[in-house]
Every structure is written in structure tokens, then in C-alpha cells.
């Protein structure tokens, strides 16, 4: 062990988030006993300005050369503390975090055991940090071009925003037209503006913009590279391939609707005149709301939450359907004046701007609202031969507790949003993750909702969860702000963390050449040695674990550093058994 290290250890209370379950003072007292530790402090919020200044001051005054912070997950605040010690004049890589919040205080129930675990994790970090090496950040040029995948409202908005700032954009759309799902709808809620008007203006600008290359009937086949320097292989209309280069990627692939035929109780696909919300949009766009045999419906029943908030299908709320159902009430009534509309709902979610007013206005009109329990949805069947209506909807009305039969000539199923069937393929293509429902995962759900775990790849709109148009547009614009910030810097800083081969130890067996998923390892036939092209290496460490000569070093994840952690967690435990 490098005995010359002077380590400072800081234990965060995180208000009571950590302190409630972990005795932070005890962790700090314990850390003081560790070799190399010269100062140890527990403080209420290490990430706050006073907390960070405490570290900066200690680094300067006590000449610390290593810093450990035991606090939240490094995925949360590692960058914060790295820049703090850099401010104090220390290399940012002379830092290690012990995760005693997400993986300790928040998940354990015994204060004694949680405190013991926090000590073990802190001990591991103290041992590891003494083997850290300094690295200088590397800069690479930033290509100002952006690839936008998906030409819906999100893609159109993002493309225009960047192009208006004079940045080149490639807009790739799978379909033969722009507009995405918004192009399928008639009016928007709650203000009943025409969706077509929203789109036409955007599409005209996008197609005429000198900075935007629109590629219809096109798909992205493969993507390589890294932030600032991506390359993509496209299959364009007619099957031709095309290569493009860009610095950023925005994924705006949107959603697809729930397949209503999966929920047999509603009779979609079996009973005539049971339609989905998108089928109805088609009717509304042509201005003719009618049954299959061309008659105007006397009774229309709208069923909310089809495929949403369901144990059987999608458990989440699709957010836009409630207001859309109210919109249908208004639109159907304008198309068919004397129609009787019944709206079967589970809860009326009117959360957005203008939505509650819209609900009140709609409720005052002659629609009947009936509530059903989401675990007990209504059933649609064909009406009797003598009935003067085609369909019968049976519902256990929740508020009255009565079983009600509602007549209908037309049943509209409010189908929810779900992740697209090709979302796994897209995730793979741009190297981002999906959640259990198939939605793309954001870097942080609250603080970083449009970036992903892959630098330079952003997500906007309903590809990450159900969203309405205003939210989608806001997200699309947010991605462009993030990208322009990088473009303004002219270059980007990449983590100097990659693998490197010690040519003296390499036997030239070439085993690593085959293993590298990024083809970052080259073999020099003259020297008979392999070497790693650092900018192409993404530091997974696959080759490091495989090298039979132990010739490959994973920067910042060396064997020695990991051994120290193993010893740290175990030695602590065995000395206190």
C-alpha cells in the first residue's frame, strides 16, 4: 500500500436520509482508524456548497491527496465531488465514493447492521482510492450535425430548433410522410385546435430548410462511434445505403397504440361498430361519424383505459386518453347533433393546463359519465335482434353500485399508448436501456429527463413514456439545448478511462482482438503485439479479464483497485466478527 497517501474522508448525513439508518459519526470515527486517513468529517449535506467548500479547504490546507465521500450513489454525485477536489487543485480521479444511501440506509432496517455495512463500504473506498492514478481529460472535436430518428412532432420540433441555429440535421423517418402519430388525429384537447394546423406549418419549414436533410422511407441500420463523432449507416428509399456522420443523436420514435383485440371482452375485431380511438379519428378527419352500414349512431359509448391501468395489460396510465375522450364527446356531438354519449371511465385524469376547465365544460353538456372499477372493466356484446341499437355494454357502475346496461350503436375504445414493437431494436441500435414496459430509460427521471446512459444520445417525446403534445415539444426543445451547449464548446471532453496494453507483457496471442465489441484492438504484425486505440475503447474491461498474460490494464478499474475493495469489505467484517 502506498503509505504516503493523505486521505480525507467525508460522511454525508443527507439530512436524515442516511443519518436516520446509519450512525454517520461512528462511520467517521471508524474511518479515522484506517491507514492513510488524516481527516474525517460527518456533515449534514456534503453536496451543498458549504459541504463542497469544506472539502476544497481541507484539500488545500491539509494537503490531502485523496478524497473519499461516503454518501449517495456515485451515479448521482461523483461528478460534483470530482469537480470539487479539482477546484482544490487535486486530480479529479483521486476520488472515490462509498454508496451508503441507495445501497445502504434506504434499503436496510437495522441501524446497527446498516452502520456496519456503511463502515465496510467506506473502508473499501479508502483502500481503493490510495491506488488511484491521475488522468488528464481528453478532448475530441464535436461534429455539429445531429441525427434525428423519427419524424413525428418531437422529431420535427427538434430538427427545426437545431436547423434554425444553423446546425445541420439529418431527419430519418421510416414512413413515407412526416407527422407521426399526430398526423393521425383530428383535433387536439383541451383547446380543440386542429392537429393538421400544428403539423403543416412545421412540415413545410422542415422540408424547405436548407440545413435539414429529410430522409423518408429510410431506416438507420447501424451506428458506431461516440459522442461528437458518431457514424451511421442508413438504408434510404429504394434500398440504397448512405453513410452519415454526426455528433449527436435524438431518438423520437414515439409510441404505438394498444392492440384492442387482445382484450376480448370489448369485442374489437369481432363485433362491427366497436372501434378504437384511432379508427374514430379517421372518421372525424373525413367528417363522417357513422356505423359500418352508413347510419348516424344514436348512442355512442366511450370506454376509457383500454389496455391501460390494467393488471392484465399495461399497468401504467396513458395520460392523454381522458382528455381525448372528452374531446370525442365534443366532436361527435358536432358531427351527429342528437347523439347520446356515455363515457365509462375509471378515474378522470385532468392534470394539464386547461384540462380541468375542459372537463367541467364537457361534463355540463349532455354526456353521461359512469365510473367503473379498473379491475372490473365493462363488457361489450351484440344487442338482441329486437333492440333498436346494435351493441350492449354491461358495466358495474362503481358510484351507484348497480349493474347497468348501456345501449350503443358505436363503441369507442380509448386505447392506451405502449412502447413500439421495434423499441428493443432501436435501443440496441443507439445503445440505451428500456424499462420493464419497453419505454426508453432517461438518465435521471427528474433532473435529466432527455439524456440517456449513452453520452450524445438523447430521447424526446412518447418513446420514453406516454406524453401529450406540449410535453413532447418541450422535451424535443430540451434535447436541442443540450446538444447546442456541446456544439458551442466546439469540442467535447471524454473520460480518459479506457484499457491499455503493456507491450512488454503482451504475448501477441490476439485473444483480445476477437473479444473487443468495438474493434478497438489492433494487432501489429511487425512488433507481434496488440494495442488499443483509446478513443474507440469504451472501457468495458472484457479484454482485461481475458488476457492470459495480464498485460491489459483497465484504467480506474485495475485489478489492484478491485482487490483493495474486496479486501476492504471483507477485512472490515472479519476484524469485527
Amino acid at each position: 500500500m502506498k503509505t504516503e497517501c493523505k486521505v480525507g474522508v467525508y460522511v454525508c448525513n443527507c439530512g436524515t436520509n442516511i443519518a436516520k439508518m446509519v450512525d454517520c459519526d461512528a462511520v467517521s470515527e471508524y474511518a479515522k482508524t484506517q491507514p492513510g486517513v488524516v481527516v474525517c468529517k460527518a456533515y449534514k449535506y456534503m453536496c451543498s456548497n458549504p459541504g463542497q467548500e469544506m472539502i476544497v479547504k481541507d484539500v488545500q490546507e491539509l494537503k490531502l491527496d485523496r478524497v473519499v465521500v461516503a454518501a449517495c450513489s456515485p451515479r448521482m454525485h461523483e461528478p460534483t465531488f470530482r469537480s470539487a477536489i479539482e477546484k482544490g487543485g487535486l486530480n479529479p480521479y483521486f476520488f472515490e465514493m462509498a454508496n451508503i444511501r441507495e445501497q445502504c440506509s434506504w434499503v436496510h432496517e437495522s441501524r446497527e447492521q446498516a452502520t456496519d455495512k456503511a463502515k465496510a463500504l467506506t473502508c473499501a473506498a479508502i483502500r481503493r482510492v490510495q491506488h488511484h492514478e491521475p488522468f488528464e481529460k481528453q478532448s475530441v472535436p464535436m461534429n455539429p450535425a445531429t441525427l434525428v430518428i423519427g419524424g413525428g412532432i418531437a422529431g420535427l420540433t427538434a430538427a427545426l430548433e437545431l436547423a434554425d441555429a444553423e446546425q445541420p440535421v439529418f431527419l430519418v423517418e421510416k414512413d413515407d410522410h412526416l407527422g407521426g402519430n399526430v398526423a393521425r388525429i383530428d383535433l387536439t384537447s383541451p383547446y380543440l385546435d386542429s392537429a393538421r394546423d400544428l403539423l403543416t406549418e412545421r412540415i413545410t419549414h422542415v422540408t424547405k430548410h436548407p440545413k435539414i436533410t429529410v430522409l423518408l422511407n429510410s431506416e438507420v441500420e447501424s451506428i458506431s462511434g461516440y459522442i461528437g463523432n458518431f457514424k451511421a449507416e442508413l438504408k434510404t428509399a429504394g434500398g440504397a445505403s448512405r453513410q452519415i456522420e454526426m455528433g449527436s443523436i435524438i431518438v423520437c420514435t414515439g409510441f404505438q397504440e394498444f392492440d384492442a383485440s387482445k382484450a376480448a371482452r370489448f369485442g374489437y375485431g369481432k363485433l362491427p361498430n366497436v372501434v378504437t380511438s384511432y379508427d374514430l379519428e379517421k372518421m372525424l378527419r373525413t367528417g363522417r361519424v357513422q356505423t359500418r352500414d352508413g347510419r348516424a349512431p344514436k348512442y355512442v359509448t366511450i370506454i376509457n383505459c383500454v389496455g391501460s391501468r390494467s393488471e392484465e395489460f399495461n399497468r401504467y396510465c396513458s395520460r392523454v386518453c381522458c382528455m381525448t375522450a372528452l374531446k370525442y364527446g365534443n366532436e361527435i356531438r358536432s358531427a351527429v347533433p342528437n347523439v347520446r354519449i356515455t363515457n365509462l371511465y375509471t378515474d378522470m385524469n385532468a392534470f394539464g393546463k386547461g384540462c380541468e376547465d375542459f372537463y367541467m365544460r364537457s361534463a355540463e353538456k349532455e354526456a353521461v359519465f359512469m365510473m367503473y372499477d379498473k379491475h372490473n372493466p365493462p363488457t361489450v356484446s351484440a344487442a338482441g335482434r329486437r333492440d333498436n341499437f346494435g351493441l350492449l355494454v354491461k358495466v358495474d357502475e362503481k358510484l351507484s353500485g348497480e349493474e347497468v346496461e348501456v345501449p350503443a350503436d358505436l363503441v369507442v375504445l380509448m386505447v392506451g399508448m405502449q412502447a413500439r414493437d421495434d423499441s428493443a431494436k432501436v435501443a440496441r441500435l443507439v445503445n440505451i436501456s428500456r424499462d420493464k414496459d419497453g419505454w426508453f430509460i432517461e438518465s435521471h427521471p427528474k433532473l435529466d429527463p432527455v439524456s440517456t446512459t449513452t453520452d450524445g444520445v438523447f430521447i424526446a417525446g412518447a418513446c420514453s413514456s406516454p406524453k401529450d403534445i406540449p410535453e413532447t415539444v418541450a422535451q424535443a426543445r430540451a434535447t436541442t439545448a443540450r446538444i447546442q451547449a456541446k456544439i458551442c464548446q466546439g469540442m467535447i471532453w471524454v473520460e480518459p478511462v479506457y484499457a491499455e496494453i503493456d507491450e512488454n507483457a503482451c504475448s501477441g496471442c490476439r485473444m483480445c482482438n476477437e473479444l473487443c465489441p468495438y474493434s478497438a484492438i489492433e494487432y501489429d504484425p511487425v512488433k507481434k503485439r496488440s494495442h488499443i486505440i483509446s478513443v474507440m475503447c469504451k472501457a468495458c474491461g472484457t479484454c482485461v479479464a481475458a488476457c492470459p498474460s495480464g498485460a491489459i490494464k483497465a484504467r480506474h478499474f485495475t485489478d489492484q483497485q478491485i482487490f483493495e475493495q474486496i479486501e476492504g469489505v471483507l477485512e472490515w467484517a472479519s476484524s469485527h466478527a
Partner: protein, 144 residues
């Protein structure tokens, strides 16, 4: 106090470590016997790490990575998947019980699953009792 297992967990940064953090933000409770070491990819886990942990007296080692097909580094977890049976075979020859070393897939959204996997691992290792290496290490310490 009865036997409390000491288990080392190696988690990949992108899926499993994030999933473990999600268990935390969701306040899902699980037993505290696994101490986690973060690596970028499960394929970084050199078999010597596991041997090192066992030789230091760990009662068990658990490796968690992204589900097959979901690796942040394209296919690192497939390499882990292929290496792992070889290691298990060797450990068996050394007399290390089957349940002490385990490979599991936990995605970034599976906080609940992470807690279940960890609890199950701890319960199984607790049922096995302390590892033979730990017993002999502890005996050495007493002698000294």
C-alpha cells in the same frame, strides 16, 4: 447472534448497479449482507476476483449483469455467461458449494428483482453456514 454471511457482490454499472440504486430510491428493503463492488461491465470480472473474495473468507459471491441482449457494451454479458460455468466447475473441484457463487441478470428497472435476488442469495448462503475457508481463517486468528 447467529451466523451472518459476508457476501461480495459485483455489479455492472449500467444495469445491475442502477437497478440496485433503484431499489434504494424505491425504498425496497433487503438484508444487508451483500457489499457491492461496481464494475463497468460484468465481463470485467476476472475469475480471480471471485477466488480472491472466497480466499479472503467471503461466504458467497454474487455477480449481476444486464440481461442477455441488453448489455451496454453490446455483448459483454455473453462473455460472462460463457466464463462462468468454467469457474463454477473449478470451484466445485475445490469443494466450494454450488450456491455460494451465483450469476444473475438484473436490469436498471428491476429494483424489486434486485432485492429478491439478494435476499434469496443471502438465505441460501445462510443455510449453508460459513465457508470452509472462513472457518479456517477464523481458527487461525484465534490461534494467533
Amino acid at each position: 447472534m447467529g451466523f451472518e454471511p459476508r457476501i461480495v457482490g459485483f455489479l455492472c454499472n449500467w444495469c445491475s448497479y442502477t437497478g440496485a440504486d433503484l431499489a434504494g430510491t424505491s425504498r425496497i428493503k433487503y438484508q444487508p449482507n451483500v457489499s457491492v463492488i461496481r464494475v463497468m461491465c460484468s465481463a470485467r470480472i476476472d475469475p480471480t476476483f471471485i477466488l480472491k473474495a472466497l480466499s479472503m473468507g467471503a461466504d458467497g459471491v454474487i455477480i449481476c449483469g444486464c440481461h442477455p441482449g441488453d448489455c451496454h457494451y453490446v455483448e459483454g454479458n455473453y462473455k460472462t455467461m460463457r466464463r462462468f460455468p468454467l469457474l463454477k466447475k473449478m470451484l466445485k473441484d475445490f469443494g466450494v458449494e454450488e450456491d455460494r457463487v451465483r450469476l444473475e441478470w438484473v436490469s436498471a428497472s428491476e429494483g424489486q428483482r434486485f432485492s429478491e435476488v439478494i435476499n434469496d442469495m443471502i438465505d441460501k448462503v445462510r443455510a449453508l453456514g460459513p465457508s470452509k475457508i472462513r472457518v479456517s481463517l477464523d481458527a487461525d486468528k484465534v490461534e494467533r
